[in-house]
Amino acid sequence: MDRALLDPILDKHRGKPGHLIHVLMQIQHENHWLPREVLLQVAEALGTPFSRVLRIATLYKTFSLTPKGRHEVQVCNGISCHLRGAKQLMAAVERATGVKAGETDANWRFSVQAGACLGTCSVGPELIVDGRHHVRMTPAEVEDILRQYP
């Protein structure tokens, strides 16, 4: 990770172990993943055991310990979307991207994940790409939508 991005974050929270989640959130947001060397530095800067940092980093789905693709593709896995056919939608996404949920394709284009319910249940089932909602999706529309994301 670029030191110019990392150092200000570490300096701001130096010596404050209680700020671990805030720090990891910021790094994930800036860098899109949490490299191990960065996590070692976080442990040192905040004064918290490295095992605690790893525990928190592996506990939450938001954090990725491996690099992500250019586009983050989520198929909402909430109960309402599930009732409206999210399983079939995910199958279509896996076919179109060539990877399974939790994986990134070999060209670093798409990272596919089952997404947490964002409360837009009324317009499900949903495909959310880079934070943008594609509502009332059908499996047939998946390829056209993903084509918008090179």
Binding site: L24, K87, Q88, G119
Partner: protein, 561 residues
């Protein structure tokens, strides 16, 4: 902005805002709630803004981007105030027609509600069936308020309750009022809020905390986000009143990291409240200090559990503590901590302003006030609904919800998400009441109501909830981690046609131990959806075990057989 330092200054400030808005100009309110926002309501707002600017200030039209109106299925939503004309499924191309009609006092007929069968139109909010059957005490202001403008909240009477509490009531009187109103927690526990406040207030300690649980992790529940994003000050006002009552000077708001809109609204509301002297040092010149910190969950359901939430605020992994260490006595850093849900806090201001007797007059014997319900699943009119406690579910599902798509018969309704249960359609006259629904095995929980049509595979729904929970629990205790996982294995086999003799007994044993032995509420209630399936849909479960069909039907559109 000089902070307001007395009740009189607040009222003068409010009066100035109100009089500057007389006579009321036509105001176009565009919904920027989660679903409408997801349907690009921003482009609608931009188009309307451009059109209003084109006409110029002389035309006297205002535009307001608001929070969730509630009728999510029909978004993007637009309401023209003060006449409350409602437009649905609005596109950017409709901007000039809407602005022109707002100026001329006419109605754009093609955009109003039309009954799907008779074609009869309903132009005003009070006539639209979805809204007509509701009692929108909490949500009603959402169509009038821009959550980024505190003036809008003040214009509708905001912070008058805080002023009354600080200057006309003692902290004990405030607690008493909440107790007499019988306000019960809206996050899922249904615990009497006043009692919790009193425990936190009287527990030994030099510091105590108040917390807003804005986590809303239950899938299918989106009403907390609707009220918090749409009217953050209403929640904040309740929190400050509660802090005053309990004697807390430090508050925490705990929410999700993945709703950027919500986070922005909260941060802005906190900053504006402080700038106006309604938060921070010497609130309204009363001498009462209170500050609020914002904390985030980064993606695990269990951190919505109150003791796990507090660990998370401390920077620790979100592992719950057993309930016999009550968090109202020993919570964050072992200090008395009063945690309440967003909707619970949102109720506080109106109770203080209009009185406990008024509030207790709404609802049933055991459940007072109104409840926000997020209606989804196979229902036609999916959205956020507010009705008095005691409302029969039939009214919510049919009169407001419009039944199911394609008119298919309803099979069941589910309350409480992964910690709740389903009841069959024949019980749909049951009333929205904490205790009545809990007895039926479908506790209200946060208020997410899922409608399921006749093609729904109930075993699959139970399996879904349990599998979801196996990924969202912390994994500390054996009966939750292992019990749920083993239950999923059995249900998996059943849905794949590999059910075997003794499965029902295996499930019942697992359910019994999970409910009795788990450390926290997540585990203890994890078995409830399955229990409700065994209670009301047992023949279906047994048939699946016996039949041994393959359930993986990728061709069908839903969880159909």
């Amino acid at each position: 902005m000089t902070p307001l330092r007395s009740a009189a200054e607040l009222e003068q400030f409010r009066a100035a805002i109100v009089s500057s808005r007389e006579p009321p100009k036509p105001c176009i309110a565009v919904c920027a709630g989660a679903a409408c926002h997801g349907m690009d309501s921003q482009r609608v707002a931009d188009a309307l803004e451009a059109e209003v600017a084109r006409l110029g200030p002389a035309a006297g039209i205002e535009l307001r981007v608001t929070g969730c109106h509630g009728y999510c299925a029909k978004g993007p939503n637009v309401v023209v105030n003060p006449t409350e004309v409602c437009y649905f499924e609005v596109r950017p191309e409709d901007a000039s027609a809407i602005v022109a009609s707002a100026r001329d006092g006419t109605v754009v007929e093609r955009l109003v509600y039309a009954d799907p069968e008779t074609g009869e139109k309903a132009r005003h909010l009070s006539e639209v069936p979805f809204y007509k059957h509701q009692t929108r005490l909490l949500l009603g202001d959402n169509t009038r308020i821009d959550p980024m403008r505190i003036d809008d909240y003040l214009a509708v009477g905001g912070y008058a309750a805080l002023s009354k509490a600080l200057f006309e009531m003692t902290p004990e009187q405030v607690v008493d009022e909440i107790k007499r109103a019988h306000l019960r927690g809206r996050g899922g526990g249904g615990f009497p809020a006043g009692q919790k406040w009193e425990t936190a207030k009287n527990a030994p300690g030099d510091e105590r905390y108040v917390i807003v649980n804005a986590h809303e992790g239950e899938p299918g529940a989106f009403m907390d986000r609707a009220i918090f994003t749409g009217n953050p000050h209403k929640v904040l006002e309740g929190l400050i009143i509660g802090a005053y009552a309990i004697g807390s000077h430090q508050g925490y708001i705990y929410t999700r990291h993945d709703s950027p809109q919500l986070i922005k609204r909260i941060e802005h509301a906190l900053a504006q409240a402080e700038a106006h002297g309604l938060l921070g040092q010497d609130i309204l010149g009363s001498g009462f200090d209170f500050n609020v910190e914002l904390h985030f969950d980064v993606g695990i359901f269990v951190s919505g559990e109150s003791s796990a939430l507090m660990r998370s605020i401390e920077g620790l992994p979100p592992e719950p503590r057993p309930k016999y260490i009550r968090t109202s006595v020993a919570g964050i850093r072992d200090k008395p901590s009063n945690l309440n849900n967003v909707e619970t806090w949102a109720n506080v201001a109106q109770i203080i302003e209009r009185g406990a007797d008024w509030y207790a007059g709404i609802g049933t014997e055991g459940s007072k006030g109104t409840k926000l319900v997020s209606l989804s699943g196979h229902v036609v009119n999916s959205g956020v609904v507010e009705v008095p406690m005691g409302t029969p579910l039939r009214r919510i599902v049919e009169d407001i919800g419009g039944g199911t798509a394609q008119g298919k018969p309803i099979k069941a309704v589910h309350f409480g998400g992964p910690m709740g249960g389903s009841i069959p359609a024949r019980l749909i006259d049951a009333r929205l009441d904490f205790d009545e629904l809990a007895k039926l095995g479908a506790p209200i929980g946060a208020g997410g109501l899922l409608v399921m049509d006749e093609d729904t595979d109930m075993v699959e729904v139970a399996r879904y909830f349990l599998e979801w929970l196996t990924q969202e629990s912390c994994g500390k205790c054996v009966p939750c981690r292992e019990g749920m996982w083993q239950t999923v294995r059995v249900l998996d086999n059943i849905t794949k046609g590999k059910g075997r003799q003794g499965d029902i007994e295996r499930l019942q044993d697992l359910n019994e131990v999970t409910s009795a032995a788990c450390l926290c509420a997540l585990g203890k209630t994890a078995a409830d959806p399955l229990k409700s399936m065994l209670r009301y849909f047992r023949p279906e479960v047994e048939a699946q075990i016996a039949r041994g069909e393959d359930r993986d039907d990728a061709a069908a559109g839903s969880t159909a057989r």
